[in-house]
């Protein structure tokens, strides 16, 4: 052992090293139980680069991946050569892979409450330090509200819950729900926590600022539906699955962290991260969202809320700072695209802070209903048509959300985990529960975690999705035929 070690360090200076690089191979054991091997062509490779190569076989995102070797968690900057010198790394050795959390998302159990509870302006910290100032933080939550109060997930929920009547395999709609719901819940937290009152709470933060055009369209559709069908939201929020989501801040946080802009925002403003991390605030927000009337009102009044803040003494300053501190770090296009108060503000981070002309500007420039402009139009249609459109849209939305989950290995894994862990999830689906009621064996199987573990494979999800898509096409065809034949 000792001899080996000396030999390899000695070889270092002789260029290629003792082992033939072509033969150098490492084995990996992932915490999910999978095992695989990777060749190491270059010992100068850093652990960070290795992680990127490991992302695909492991299914863990490089940022969250932890590589453990000889009892140590490896640092991204270490090279394999370092490991050879320090710990005697040899070809054929095994490393462990674990999914951690993203850097900078501290899980301080106390800080969240503190940040959420602190009324604006009580913080003694010096202002101007991003994240350290109470005012800035408090309004920090509110900016995303104004900018795209899309309630990312909140509305996805609606989407899927509107579907049950005509979706045989609605299970999928609900799957989509998981991801974005949670995200919305968490994002909303920032807002709720900061304002502490429903008016200010607005809707959830802009979860997908400009991320993808598809998601934006999706969000828009979902917003419309939420307004058209407030009860649906409540249904979903009351489901056992959501209950368990609310109890799982870790999952929510991870979901949030899959959004690069939010991640960035939290990195730059740790205090915001704390708000988002506080399970109590999370729950509070969920509760708020359970009341559909309140929720609807909140969403409608979010622009107004922004205007109100502005008219308060010092309010605009708070907003401005918040904008420069937080929104400024987000993609400016995103803010514009989603188009409510903060985004509409022409002031970019270098706006003159003392400008007085902006008082009331939000409400002038963007009258209240602006964000919902599309809503009433949809609602105005023939009511049958409207319903059909709704379910159609919601199904599409659910399908897309599911796709998004399938495309994101980490999100998928979390979703899968959640579904496996919940013995009531499948039963929430009317069709499944009817089947189970008639078939005790199936009922029993559904309650068995092993069964669920085997059931919820990627293949299963994909085939279900395919089925749902086919069904949608099928119904569309019928609908078109009906219309063309004038029936």
């Amino acid at each position: 052992m000792e001899g080996d070690h000396t030999k390899s360090s000695g070889d270092k200076s002789v260029t290629a090293g003792g082992a033939d690089p072509c033969d150098f191979e490492l084995h990996f054991k992932s915490s999910t139980g999978s095992k695989f091997s990777l060749p190491v062509p270059d010992l100068e490779e850093q652990v960070g680069a290795l992680k990127s190569r490991l992302a695909e076989p492991s299914g863990f995102a490089p940022e969250t991946m932890r590589v453990i070797y000889k009892g140590r968690v490896l640092k991204d900057s270490e090279t394999l050569r370092d490991l050879q010198d320090k710990y005697g790394l040899e070809s054929g050795h095994t490393m462990h892979l674990v999914r951690g959390v993203r850097p900078g998302t501290a899980a301080n159990p106390n800080s969240g409450t503190h940040a959420a509870a602190a009324p604006p302006s009580t913080s003694p910290a010096a202002s101007g330090v991003p994240g350290a100032d109470g005012v800035t933080d408090a309004s920090a939550g509110s900016v995303p509200t104004g900018s795209s109060f899309a309630a990312g997930g909140g509305t996805t929920q609606t989407a899927s819950s509107a579907a049950p009547p005509n979706t045989a395999f609605n299970m999928f709609g609900q799957t989509g729900t998981i991801g974005w719901n949670a995200a919305a819940g968490t994002a909303g937290t920032a807002t709720g926590g900061a304002f502490g009152d429903p008016d200010g709470a607005g809707a959830a933060a802009g979860l997908n600022p400009g991320g993808s055009a598809t998601m934006q369209r999706l969000q828009q559709q979902m917003q419309q539906q939420l307004l058209a069908n407030p009860g649906a939201m409540q249904e979903i929020l009351n489901s056992p699955l959501m209950e368990s989501m609310a109890e799982n801040p870790e999952l929510m946080r991870t979901l949030m962290m899959t959004n690069p802009q939010i991640r960035e925002m939290i990195n730059q403003n740790p205090e915001v991260g704390h708000i988002l991390n506080d399970p109590a605030v999370l729950r509070q927000t969920m509760q708020l969202m359970r009341n559909p009337r309140l929720m609807q009102e909140m969403m409608r009044t979010s622009d107004r809320a922004m205007a109100n803040i502005e008219s308060m003494p010092g309010g605009f300053d708070a907003l401005r700072r918040l904008y420069t501190d937080i929104q400024g770090s987000l993609d400016p296009n995103a803010a514009l695209a989603t188009g409510a108060a903060a985004g509409a503000r022409p002031g970019t981070p270098n706006t003159n802070p003392s400008s007085e002309t902006t008082s009331g500007r939000v409400s002038e420039a963007f009258p209240l209903p602006s964000t919902w402009a599309a809503g009433p139009q949809t609602g105005a249609g023939d009511s049958n048509q409207h319903n059909w459109m709704n379910s159609e849209l919601s199904e599409e939305a659910a399908i897309r959300a599911t796709r998004a989950i399938l495309d994101n290995p980490e999100l998928f894994r979390l979703t899968q985990e959640q579904m496996v862990a919940s013995d009531t999830f499948l039963l929430a689906n009317p069709m499944i529960s009817a089947m189970a009621a008639m078939n005790p064996q199936m009922m029993q199987a559904l309650q068995d975690i092993q069964f669920r573990r085997h059931l919820f494979t990627r293949e299963f999800f994909e085939s279900t999705l395919a089925m749902q898509e086919a069904q949608l096409r099928f119904r569309r065809a019928i609908h078109n035929a009906l219309r063309q034949s004038g029936l």
Binding site: S31, Y69, H96, V98
Partner: protein, 171 residues
């Protein structure tokens, strides 16, 4: 005599480490704190699946006596320390197989459950992993954790989950 014992122990530990790195046991990873001292090991225990510790990366140090394997090593978790009935608040692990056979300060353990030279680092760490999964609250090292584990399992679980997250941030 002492030197002989010590080098035998060093040899044994070095061999055990090499074997571990070849086969790589599930659930933990082990190396030396410093390459020139085989008596101090750095280990990372992966929180066992389907327990509240799942997903955590618990770092610990094992310190072996020079007369190993006649006497057991001591094991101490490094912060963030697992919240667990059998782990002292300072991280010291209280598990029967790490107690010398003659010495039973708690009077609870059968001689057969205590240290014996047949134990290896692997068997020790596997025992610790199984301890994480199923605490023994007969002789708790952390009385509050034991009480909570018994009486408020949900609160216990939540507290453990917070620590799990912390272990991932330290990394």
């Amino acid at each position: 005599m002492m030197a002989g014992n010590s080098s035998r122990a060093a040899l044994l530990l070095t061999r055990q480490l090499r074997d571990l790195n070849k086969s790589s046991a599930d659930g933990f990873s082990a190396g030396l704190v410093s390459e020139d001292d085989p008596f101090r090991w750095a280990v990372t225990i992966l929180g066992p699946p389907e327990t509240p510790f799942e997903g955590g990366l618990f770092r610990a140090e094992l310190v072996f006596p020079t007369d190993y394997p006649m006497s057991p090593p001591r094991m101490k978790f490094l912060p963030p320390i697992p919240w667990h009935p059998n782990v002292y608040r300072n991280g010291e692990v209280c598990i029967s197989i790490l107690h010398p056979p003659g010495d039973d300060p708690h009077g609870y353990e059968m001689a057969g459950e205590r240290w014996s030279p047949v134990h290896t680092v692997e068997s020790i760490l596997l025992s610790v992993i199984s301890m994480l999964a199923s605490p023994n609250d007969e002789s708790p090292a952390n009385i509050d954790a034991a009480k909570e584990w018994r009486e408020q399992p949900e609160a216990y679980r939540k507290r453990v989950r917070i620590i799990v997250r912390q272990t991932l941030e330290e990394a």
